[in-house]
Amino acid sequence: MSMFRDITIGQYLSGSSVVHRLDPRTKITIVGVFMVVLFAATDAAAYATLTAFTVLAVHLARVPARMLLRGLRPVLILLVLTFTLQLFLTPGRTMFTLGPLVASWEGLRMGLFMVARLLLLLVMASLLTLTTSPVSLTDGLESILAPFRVVGLPAHELAMMMTIALRFIPTLMEEADKIMKAQMARGADFESRSLSRRIRSLVPLLVPLFVSAFRRADELATAMEARCYRGGRHRTRLNRLRATALDAAAAALTGFMAAVVIGLRWWPG
């Protein structure tokens, strides 16, 4: 029984849809723009536009709906809570009363908008990670952050750290599994019902895991140095990111969507 076998890193679903083929920089930027625009939306027409955009994106990505729904399950409680709080705590015309609590029509409207906002946000964010491999996500982030190097942001170093983390997570998981089995063979109890005992049982797992992680880090640093690594300066890349006509089309569509939503807010009617 391996405790860690089911954990996959990221939730990338490989495919060849138009969304998969977009440059990661385009996708990251679209999600960024979408988030900003989402907070400018105040009426039903704006939400309808945003929803249409999201549905179109999901459709084009050809991602099974159940994959997206699975990602929403953990936040279900948050959605219900948000809706309930908005419903009862927004002052306005009374819809119904529940003991001391008064539900208002304005609350219903606010609650629905709030839930829609969270849902759209989550779907778009999941879509990004579902259609972009961790490697290209990292490359995209590095490229987007690169201009901020002039103000001292270590864009390359951050991306390198992410890459190494992604590379070593499966290795360390395997190791954790091995250590756990070794400790269980010596009578360690990882399945106790008592929380304090369970936390204490993690010590003999975490200590060797950290010791080994530090040793690995040291060896990896030596190996990187042996392969002439000296930071991000003067470095070239095997795979360069290339924006195509597809990216231009996606950007145009996003721009149109943003213009509609912002137009509805400031020039209603």
Binding site: V135, T163, L166, E219, T222, R237, N239, R240
Partner: protein
């Protein structure tokens, strides 16, 4: 210095923690010349300074005494380090701790990327290096799903993509199963023979050392023997005296000789023995 000497160490000494209470002398007075195209095995008991020596060959460690030159460049000059590390590629013991990227081909590209090679040229070198270690079918695979022997071949490809003149394997087979060990050894032997790559194989498996053109023996930081494998492995008593064995075949040869069947000393591997006995 003759131009065909790729690596020269003269009076090389290294002390860890010099000037402290835990000062340890790892190497002392090592004189070694490695010519272009040679296949040299370095053997020695644990703590004999094998890995310390390996790390001097590409300036990961700097001599505390004497000097090391690679292609005539002194390793003590920091300006030469990148050129030296490009010339002398290195493969380490633990296959997991030397692979940087999450995709095989991106890992092989890591060295040339650091050398600022243009992307089209990196692509060429990556494909070529993966083909040389026969891993071209795994270019898009995730490294953590490969076997130990495959990971080490990827690590070799990563070094080859820098177009080195020499490959140093620092106990690169120690953590592998017999099959992985065979894969790696066949690969380096082929690279040495067909591509003219200089190979320095640090190992504690005598059977592996028997495959080299030349065997260097270290003991407590000193170079105690340097010669052809048949010369070195005929000194059975000396090797056993410093805690090393000899290839199993050498023992078999001795027994056969005692029984009155002389076997030439160049027979050091199982294959060679079979070829000799059943021509």
């Amino acid at each position: 210095m003759p131009p065909d000497d790729l690596i020269v160490t003269s009076g090389l000494g290294h002390r860890y923690g010099a000037g402290t209470e835990q000062e340890v002398t790892a190497l002392e007075g090592v004189d070694l010349r490695i010519a272009q195209g040679e296949f040299v095995a370095v053997i020695g008991p644990n703590g004999s300074g094998k890995s310390t020596l390996a790390r001097h060959l590409n300036a990961l460690l700097l001599p505390t005494e004497g000097r090391v030159t690679v292609n005539g460049l002194d390793t003590r000059d920091p300006d030469h380090h990148w050129s030296i590390r490009q010339t002398v590629g290195m493969v380490f013991q633990n296959p997991d701790n030397q692979i940087v990227a999450t995709v095989v081909e991106e890992d092989v590209a890591f060295g040339p990327e650091n050398l600022a090679v243009p992307p089209e040229e990196i692509r060429r070198r990556v494909d070529e290096a993966l083909a040389l270690v026969r891993m071209q079918d795994y270019a898009r695979h995730a490294p953590h799903l490969l076997s130990g022997g495959q990971k080490q071949r990827v690590a070799i490809a990563g070094a080859l993509a820098m177009r080195p003149a020499c490959l140093v394997l620092d106990e690169a087979t120690a953590m592998l199963d017999p099959r992985g060990r065979r894969e790696v050894l066949q690969t380096v032997r082929r690279l040495n023979r067909d591509e003219g790559l200089t190979v320095v194989l640090i190992t504690h498996f005598m059977e592996e050392a028997a495959l080299a053109d030349r065997v260097v023996v270290l003991d407590r930081g000193h170079l105690v023997m340097d010669g052809r494998p048949e010369e070195v492995f005929s000194e059975v008593d000396f090797l056993e005296g410093i805690g090393l064995g000899v290839p199993q075949i050498v023992g078999v040869r001795r027994l056969l000789e005692e029984a009155g069947h002389p076997i030439p000393p160049s027979v050091l591997t199982l294959e060679a023995m079979v070829d000799f006995l059943c021509p």
